[in-house]
């Protein structure tokens, strides 16, 4: 069986290699992809969309419909993780660990034992993450605001430099995940709950689809941002640029929320109790 597999892989690989001999030269300006569609994007994008970053113009406007579904793919991934992993029956764990903060002593409380009250002097710790970690906590606390501001910058500046909703959203989500890793999952879930991540995930995609639908209501084609000109008080070309910003914000919200949502489910095997 293994040999058959190997033979198939070799045959397939050599077939692909054979095809490569007939490809246009790498980076050849006279190859079909450089001659057919791209010249229009390169020459006209600024005049038609007022966005200097070509990639963003193609991604969010010319082929914005694809991007809307790419965002939906991410949302669907979050949903899939939620459906497959989430355990909703409350299970009491075998034992819980608490740290007495003033002394640093760790208490192990077996199932059925009396749990400490929610006073300030005990904190619950994960069973696989016992040590004090002052350096990690302080560093992450120090980095988080910069990370978040950088994420917002990447989302907002996608029109002019590499970036956009996907990249910015990932950075924003990573900030929350870093918080969850350096402190613990429960604290992170207290700040940004599961419900918030799920609802924000669909809200982000809804901003994208809703913007498209608004264009439709205003009489243009779906996602034809030019129709927003009247609402935004700018000319139709500038409205395209602004429209892209709106959908990029939607993408950013969706991506960051879904990242966190997936992390919650993956790291705790769906229990949302103890995690990485």
């Amino acid at each position: 069986m293994r040999i058959i597999g190997l033979l198939i892989v070799i045959a397939f690989g050599s077939l692909l290699r054979y095809g490569v001999f007939f490809f246009p030269e790498w980076g050849d300006p006279a190859s079909p992809p450089s001659l057919h569609v791209s010249p229009h994007y390169i020459e006209e994008a600024i005049a038609e969309t007022a966005v200097p970053n070509l990639v963003t113009a193609v991604l969010a406007d010319y082929r914005g419909y694809d991007t809307m579904f790419e965002t939906t793919v991410i949302f669907a991934a979050g949903l899939a993780c939620f459906m497959l992993l989430r355990v909703l029956q409350r299970q009491v764990p075998e034992c819980r660990l608490y740290r007495h903060i003033p002394t640093g002593i760790t208490l192990r409380i077996e199932k059925g034992g009396k749990l400490p009250t929610e006073s300030g002097s005990f904190e619950r710790i994960d069973s696989n993450w016992v040590p004090h970690d002052l350096i990690i906590k302080s560093t992450s606390r120090f980095i988080t605001p910069f990370l978040q501001i950088f994420a917002l910058y990447v989302i907002a500046h996608g029109h002019h430099s590499p970036g956009g909703g996907f990249q910015g959203g990932v950075i924003l989500g990573a900030a929350v995940i870093m918080y969850a890793i350096s402190y613990d999952l429960r604290r992170s879930i207290q700040r940004i709950g599961e419900q918030a991540t799920a609802v924000l995930g669909s809200a982000g995609v809804l901003i994208y689809a809703g913007t498209g639908a608004l264009c439709m209501v205003l009489g243009a084609a779906f996602l034809d941002y030019g129709a927003l000109a009247g609402l935004l008080g700018v000319d139709p070309v500038m409205a395209r640029s602004h429209g892209m910003l709106i959908v990029e914000i939607g993408v950013g919200i969706a991506v960051s929320a879904v990242m966190v949502w997936i992390y919650y489910n993956l790291s705790s095997a769906g229990r949302h109790d103890e995690g990485l």
Binding site: L16, S31, Y65, A76, L88, A198
Partner: protein, 503 residues
């Protein structure tokens, strides 16, 4: 209504997308709304797609520029008679199955209703988008949506469903990647992603090996996705372990939509000239289809559980359509296209019936089916209609598409295919009459334990499926006969005009 009608091609996809998002949000805010959002979204799309089909009958082709950009710079939707018809079928099946399985979903996923319905509606969105789009890459994106949600819908079942879902994920991802690679090759040669545009540029590259590779890659990817023998191994497990509500939409639609995509790619992207005349693939494909039909039927014979048996019947049915299509004559292609429609509704009906049985008696071993006709007479009547249609008995629709396929096989002189079709019809007859026999003649198994207590036949109680499920099941069964009666109209008014004159 008047000013919305130019937007119909976008609305059929956008309405369910937005409905899915609202459904998911409603799952967290007010769970009772989930079902309503999902049902409303699918029903609206069903209406819109019917309107679209009506207008496409007059206008031939409706184009819609998404974002207002002309092709090839932007993405174009292209609705013609063929995909207009497929779209109506998709939404009809998805809506019917949603209503039928309201109860089972509420019982299986009481706290994850929003998630389930959102996945369900997104799955349908992906499929319908794949059918409606005129852009080869956009098709891939929507394929991703329907695949991803499909894996999840399968993985949430019981027993070995997560493992089966994972297997399906591996195979499905390979299939989708091959398709994407093929599209990459096409882009490399032509610089375009719009289907019509690629088709107009391709004649210059007919001799190129890259074209041949692109064609083979796209097709292989689609064959994996449609579970054509011998690439079918993922299907039986994935389909038999998943919840009834998921399988009721996945089984009728996934393979059929993939076959439609294959037809779309060969007709509208690679052009019939290239696909049929220059590739010399027809013969190989028809023999593969023959193998699929025969192996699918034989495997089906070996099964002892209802749902699992049906999954092998699906594999055989895929062979019908692939074989009919690659015979490449007008009669056979008509049969293949007609069978997409008929088989989708047949599969819906038989899986709804199986779902009703599983819901009531909590099992689908043949042993459990004893005495079922007395216990669930209406469900089993619908089951029988679907079985007759799968066997190919007139006046059910299954007969007519099989008739076209067999006539096409004879016209092409391909007797292997004809024999395979007849063989599979016989096997289907054996399969379904065996079940009908168990259900009709063998005594109900619960009575056996009580010999000492009662004398005479055990008291038999009618325990039918819930009313909603039953109504949808009956509607599906009736539509099998209606489709059969209107076959002539469907063929002359829609399919005949949709097949390119070159065939």
């Amino acid at each position: 209504m008047e000013n919305l009608s130019p937007h119909f091609p976008a609305l059929i996809i956008i309405v369910p997308l937005i409905a899915a998002l609202l459904t998911s949000a409603a799952g967290w805010l007010n769970r009772r709304l989930c079902f309503h959002f999902a049902a409303l979204g699918l029903f609206t799309s069903l209406l819109v797609s019917t309107g679209l089909l009506a207008s496409v009958l007059d206008k031939d082709v409706i184009l819609y520029r998404l974002g207002g950009w002309p092709a090839p710079w932007g993405i174009l939707y292209r609705i013609d008679r063929l995909n207009g018809l497929v779209l109506v079928v998709i939404f009809f099946i998805a809506f019917l199955n949603l209503i039928a399985n309201k109860r089972t979903v509420e019982e299986s996923f009481p706290e994850q209703l929003g998630g389930f319905y959102a996945l369900y509606v997104l799955f349908v969105t992906g499929l319908s988008g794949m059918v409606a789009t005129g852009d080869a890459f956009n098709l891939y994106v929507l394929l991703e949506i329907s695949s991803l949600t499909g894996y999840a819908l399968i993985g949430i079942g019981h027993e070995r469903a997560p493992l089966a879902g994972l297997n399906y994920l591996f195979m499905g991802t390979i299939g989708a990647s091959l398709y994407l690679l093929g599209i990459g090759f096409l882009y490399l040669m032509t610089g375009s992603l719009n289907m019509t545009d690629i088709a107009s540029l391709l004649p210059g590259f007919y001799g190129s090996p890259v074209m041949v590779l692109a064609f083979l890659l796209c097709m292989t990817g689609l064959f994996i996705k449609m579970a054509l023998f011998p690439l079918h191994a993922w299907l039986p497990n994935a389909y038999s372990f998943s919840p009834s509500a998921s399988i009721g939409v996945i089984a009728p639609l996934t393979t059929k939509v993939m076959i439609y995509v294959m037809i779309r790619m060969t007709f509208d992207v690679f052009t019939p000239d290239f696909s049929f005349k220059m590739m010399h693939l027809g013969e190989v494909m028809v023999w593969l289809a023959v193998a699929a039909i025969i192996m699918g039927s034989l495997f089906a014979l070996a099964q002892t559980r209802l749902k699992r048996m049906l999954t092998y019947v699906i594999i055989a049915e895929v062979g019908y359509m692939v074989g009919g299509f690659w015979l490449g004559n007008r009669m056979a292609v008509t049969g293949a296209v007609l069978h997409i429609l008929n088989d989708a509704v047949m599969t819906l009906c038989i899986f709804l019936a199986a779902g009703a049985v599983v819901y009531q008696i909590c099992g689908d071993d043949f042993e459990d089916l004893k005495g079922l006709f007395r216990k669930m007479p209406i469900s089993m009547a619908a089951f029988t209609v679907a079985a007759l249609s799968l066997i190919g008995v007139p006046p059910t629709c299954g007969f007519f598409s099989k008739w076209y396929l067999i006539s096409g096989g004879i016209a092409a002189g391909h007797y292997g295919f004809v024999v395979a079709l007849l063989f599979s019809s016989l096997v289907n007859a054996v399969l379904f009459f065996r079940i009908i026999e168990i259900g009709y003649f063998e005594p109900f198994s619960e009575g056996e334990g009580g010999h000492g207590v009662h004398h005479g036949p055990p008291a038999m109680e009618i325990r039918e499926a819930p009313a909603g499920m039953l109504a949808c099941l009956l509607l599906a069964a009736v539509s099998l006969i209606v489709l059969g009666i209107y076959t002539g109209d469907i063929v002359t008014r829609i399919i005949d005009l949709a097949i390119p004159p070159a065939i």
